[in-house]
Symmetry: C2
Subunit: 178 residues, 2 copies
């Protein structure tokens, strides 16, 4: 179902101007030419825009970082492992060491005491995630799942954490003292 830019804009929920911008920035393939002012977009463009919105919105990636992730997904030479690495690099803002250093500076060095628990939980989830990834055999789907698992997984985990904290804090700090 080939469509023109305005319909693509409607379906994807981003403006035509923004689609042009994404094409300019190399985030999105241009449509297929069919005359001087006729270019047609298809399902694949729609899907890509949705992926982009997930990276930029939920993932909070800057456009430049999203571009690199997209490039990794599109590169048929890349292994799943290296695509996943690229996705991780894109979302990495801080290392464990940096976080602990800041905790130290703030006078709460005992944040370190929780590190092992965090690591254990992370290991457990990572195993699960890698299995989730591998549910498909198609290489393109697999690499896409790698970035989705990284980006959406991050968002999902922090959202779940907030829910759990809210719960834990409620039982701890409202039923008893303080």
């Amino acid at each position: 179902m080939p469509v023109r830019i305005n319909e693509l804009a409607e379906r994807s929920g981003v403006s035509a101007a923004t689609i042009k911008y994404y094409v300019r920035e190399g985030l999105l393939r241009g449509g297929d030419r069919a005359g001087y002012n006729q270019v047609s977009y298809d399902e694949s463009h729609l899907h890509r825009i949705r992926l982009l919105r997930a990276l930029l919105g939920l993932g909070g990636l800057p456009v430049a970082a999203a571009k690199e992730v997209i490039a990794a997904v599109d590169d048929p030479e890349r292994t799943v492992h290296s695509t996943l690495g690229e996705a991780q690099r894109a979302v990495s803002k801080t290392s464990v060491e940096q976080v602990l250093a800041v905790a130290d500076e703030l006078g709460h060095p005992d944040l370190l005491d929780m590190l092992e628990a965090y690591r254990a939980a992370a290991r457990q989830l990572a195993t699960l995630e890698v299995n989730w990834l591998g549910r498909t055999d198609d290489r393109d789907t697999l690499t896409e799942r790698a970035v989705i698992g990284t980006i959406l997984g991050d968002a999902l985990l922090t959202a779940a954490r907030r829910e759990a904290q809210k719960q834990a804090s409620a039982t701890r700090f409202t039923t008893r003292n303080r």
Copy 2:
């Protein structure tokens, strides 16, 4: 040890101009007046700047959100529970539902299958964190720990997750196929 703005700038690592900006924006108390062009800052200002940098840097909060968190920390009327809630609100960008909806749109509705595992891990950590919080009795320290636990904990968890994923992906995708 009362100091002037330039020394505070040096010690904290942010410029004098930025300190003035933070004061203007209500993120930082002004120093104590001691004459027309004499204002002195102390340890508490230094500590506050470090907290700010953690919120703005590691936490990635916009200045406006950091302001609200700071206000909650400073409000003696607030319970720990509500301060923690404020910190969570500030970092919340997405809910579990939103993330799952996006996964659906992208053609990976089975991300849902991992939700329970994420929730279980989150619950476990949340219990730990709340205990960690409660290691102090001082109310001010307690509320500060609430925001530090939320913000730095988020950063620490995602960093640990990346480490674990890297590991898991390496053993799964480089030793065998693909």
